[in-house]
């Protein structure tokens, strides 16, 4: 197993459990000492150390979940090193040193030239663009009082906000991976939209991630005060390589009265090669609390990467008339496995939720939709509409749907629709007879299949996602 868990900091065992403050890499394994080390290195206040320790104690009592429809070798959590000081990326001198395969991918995806260099890690002074953009970006946000920074910065500069909300949506003991994250998270994003402010632009992690590594245990917290609204974009379509195999992120969203949070993700972590070797294990807990009346939380995700995806962005609809949405496209190819879906927890009156899930499986991959719609006794006149469609490319892949519906209020209206389709030889022959090759045909069919979800993405993201999908399914037929 330790061979599979090729960790960047997978170094020979040196100092036992004696904490070496001078060392930039923590010894392997997880114990209280490690957590104290992380907290000390980050110069954290006492309350955050307590938060971490509490999470760790919970984690010790928990077992790794096994209900998901994915298979992977056992993870040895004591073989991971949980802290490495951020170090500058190893810069390449020119584009000529970049892996040609990576360049081909950028080409296919249509990643703009200056971004290619940045993403490939080339030290070119020409990458002023993202820097200058990032600066103007920050100034503009500050004008309207929006805080957008790393969570470490927020802990120091806005401790009262972090303390008030951290762990309120995803409690420290929520699940095995969330508890692990709460104990050891190193960094992530923090975003605060003050009362009545409509964020003037889409907030994108892209500008942040280039300057600092957020690591494998990422933590994100977004708060929209009364009447505020924000659209947040996570990830980018360019492939992201990482030597850490296990990723366990936590994202918490809080929307107060009349607030609106839209969270869009394009996930393209390394998926392993065509033989299923390597790839990221992505175990993510994402949850939004629609706390106030008339608030809205909307998740849109395009999941194409990772060897294993375990992810259920959820909405707790506590405020009356609050709205939850989940739009998802999950693509798996080769030996990828995805078990993803959502939870819509209706608590307030007149709460509404919509679930649109599109799963595409190709190669020998497996894709599952798993979703829970729960209508609490208090949720008068709650409504849910769910649609789960699966598409198979080839005949060696699998698609599965696991919908859970719990209704405890008679006034609820819950609808579930599901379909499974297959890209058939006949369809491809029809396209070919009109002069269109199989690659373009699959791309057109799949993008047609995902239309409802792509419409939810910001325009530029949608264009990129369309290309990404075609790219992922390249050579999956014929």
């Amino acid at each position: 197993m330790s061979a599979v868990l090729q960790n960047l900091v997978n170094q020979p065992y040196k100092h036992g459990f004696v904490t070496d403050i001078e060392s930039e890499i923590a010894p392997k394994g997880l114990n209280e000492e490690t957590i104290r080390l992380i907290s000390a290195k980050k110069n954290e206040p006492e309350w955050l150390l307590d938060f971490r320790l509490k999470a760790y104690q919970k984690w010790l009592t928990m077992t790794e979940p096994h209900w998901q429809n994915v298979k992977y070798p056992k993870i040895d959590f004591q073989a991971i090193s949980y802290y490495a000081a951020p170090k500058p990326k190893n810069k390449l001198a020119s584009m000529d040193e970049v892996d040609p395969e990576l360049l081909r991918t950028f080409e296919k995806l249509g990643v703009p030239m200056h971004e290619r260099a940045a993403l490939a890690g080339v030290a070119v002074d020409v990458i002023f663009d993202s820097v200058s953009v990032a600066t103007t970006y920050k100034e503009k946000l500050a004008e309207v009082g929006i805080i957008f920074c790393s969570i470490s910065e927020a802990v120091h500069n806005h401790p009262e906000l972090v303390r008030q909300y951290l762990g309120t949506v995803v409690p420290v003991g929520d699940n095995f991976f969330a508890a692990l994250n709460s104990a050891v998270f190193t960094d992530g994003s923090f975003c605060y939209i003050p009362k009545g402010v409509k964020c003037p632009m889409d907030l994108s992690t892209y500008f942040r991630i280039n300057t600092e590594e957020s690591g494998q245990f990422e933590r994100t917290l977004i708060i929209a005060e009364e009447g505020a609204s924000v659209s947040y974009l996570e990830g980018c379509t360019a492939p992201r390589f990482d030597t850490n195999q296990l990723h366990a992120a936590v994202v918490e969203l809080v929307a107060l009265d009349h607030a609106d949070i839209k969270y869009s993700t394009v996930q393209n972590w390394y998926a392993g090669d065509e033989n299923g070797v390597g790839g990221i294990y992505n175990f993510v807990t994402k949850r939004g609390l629609a706390k106030g009346v008339n608030s809205r939380i909307s998740w849109t995700q395009v999941e194409t990467g990772s060897a294993i995806t375990w992810k259920y962005p959820s909405c707790i609809l506590r405020g009356d008339n609050s709205v939850g949405e989940f739009y998802s496209v999950a693509v798996t190819n080769h030996y990828q496995q995805a078990d993803t879906g959502t939870k819509m927890i209706h608590i307030g009156k007149n709460t509404r939720s919509t679930i649109i899930s599109k799963g595409i499986s190709a190669g020998k991959s497996n894709s599952s939709y798993r979703g829970l719609v729960r209508i609490a006794p208090t949720a008068e006149n709650a409504r849910n509409f769910s649609q789960c469609d699966s598409m198979l490319v080839g005949d060696q892949c699998g698609a599965h749907t696991f919908p859970y519906i719990q209704v405890r209020n008679n006034s609820a209206k819950v609808e579930h629709e599901a379909s499974t389709s297959k890209i058939g030889e006949d369809q491809l022959f029809y396209f070919a007879q009109r002069g269109i090759d199989a690659e373009e045909a699959v791309s057109m069919i799949v993008n047609g299949f995902c239309k409802e979800v792509f419409q939810q993405l910001p325009m530029e993201f949608a264009v990129e996602a369309t290309k990404l999908l075609s790219f992922k399914l390249e050579n999956s037929v014929g």
Binding site: F429, Y430, Q433, R434, G435, I436, D437, M444
Partner: protein
């Protein structure tokens, strides 16, 4: 039968083809010159549709013997899409449904792909919209056709019209119409036939596959071929179709056996 000295578009010699090891075509010979309309008739299972699919390059069928020359090229060396780009068009007997893909999008991609390969200009969505609407008038199609998913929920007649619309857009050299008349009421038949007639000219050729004479009242063939058991057993002019209508296929079979007996 008229004497035509136009260039040969299609030259099929001793064509044998099989699917999953079963031989369906057992030695077809056929010559088609530009400006000609050929009708291929025959009972179910005689190999008519297989012949159409083999010409278009369906991957399930394997040519085991013989040759197909198209416009002085070896057609068997071309992939399905290369054949389409080179001007071979098949109007499907059962047009395929493509859910989620708008007809307009599909038509434009097909048009632009083929145009590019032929050295022509691509059309942007607005230009294409004008262009396709003009062609749709020919087939009396409603504009909402463009917004619907390809063939999804189309009636039989709508599907067939959509096929001929594609033929009008792609301007093939060789149009193969596989039972385009089946499932059409008389009004739709007239519209479709009118569309096909409009597209026929001295530079292209049509192969009509049909069971019935009634299509041939509207699209008049220069040659009628009768297929049985994977071969063309008789060739004649348009009057052959009338004779078939009157006497049935049994009549030909007897005649042919008789003829065969005489010649040996």
């Amino acid at each position: 039968m008229n004497i035509n000295q136009n260039p040969i578009i299609l030259n099929v010699r001793n064509l044998h083809a099989s699917i999953q090891g079963t031989e369906i075509l057992k030695g077809i010979d056929l010559t088609v010159r530009s400006g000609e309309i050929h009708a291929i008739m025959g009972l179910n299972g005689s190999g008519k549709s297989t012949f159409a699919k083999v010409l278009a390059g369906h991957p399930d069928y394997h040519v085991t013997q013989g040759s197909i020359e198209y416009e002085q090229q070896d057609l068997l060396q071309l992939s399905t899409e290369e054949r389409a780009q080179a001007g071979v068009f098949l109007a499907f007997q059962y047009p395929i449904e493509i859910p989620g893909v708008a007809n307009s999008q599909f038509l434009r991609l097909a048009y632009n792909t083929v145009q590019t390969k032929r050295g022509g200009e691509e059309l942007d969505p607005l230009e294409f919209d004008d262009f396709v609407r003009e062609k749709m008038k020919l087939l009396e199609m409603k504009p909402d056709f463009l917004d619907r998913s390809v063939n999804e929920g189309f009636s039989g007649g709508e599907k067939k019209r959509n096929e001929i619309l594609q033929m009008a857009l792609l301007e093939p050299k060789l149009g193969i119409l596989d039972e385009t008349d089946s499932g059409l009421d008389i009004d739709a038949l007239k519209i479709v036939a009118g569309g096909v007639n409009h597209l026929c000219n001295n530079d292209n050729a049509i192969i009509l596959i049909t069971h019935y004479q009634r299509l041939l009242d509207h699209i008049v063939p220069d040659f009628v071929h009768v297929m049985e058991a994977g071969r063309i057993i008789k060739t004649g002019g348009k009057e052959l179709a009338h004779a078939l209508e009157t006497h049935g296929y049994e009549w030909i079979r007897k005649n042919e056996q008789h003829a065969a007996g005489v010649s040996t």
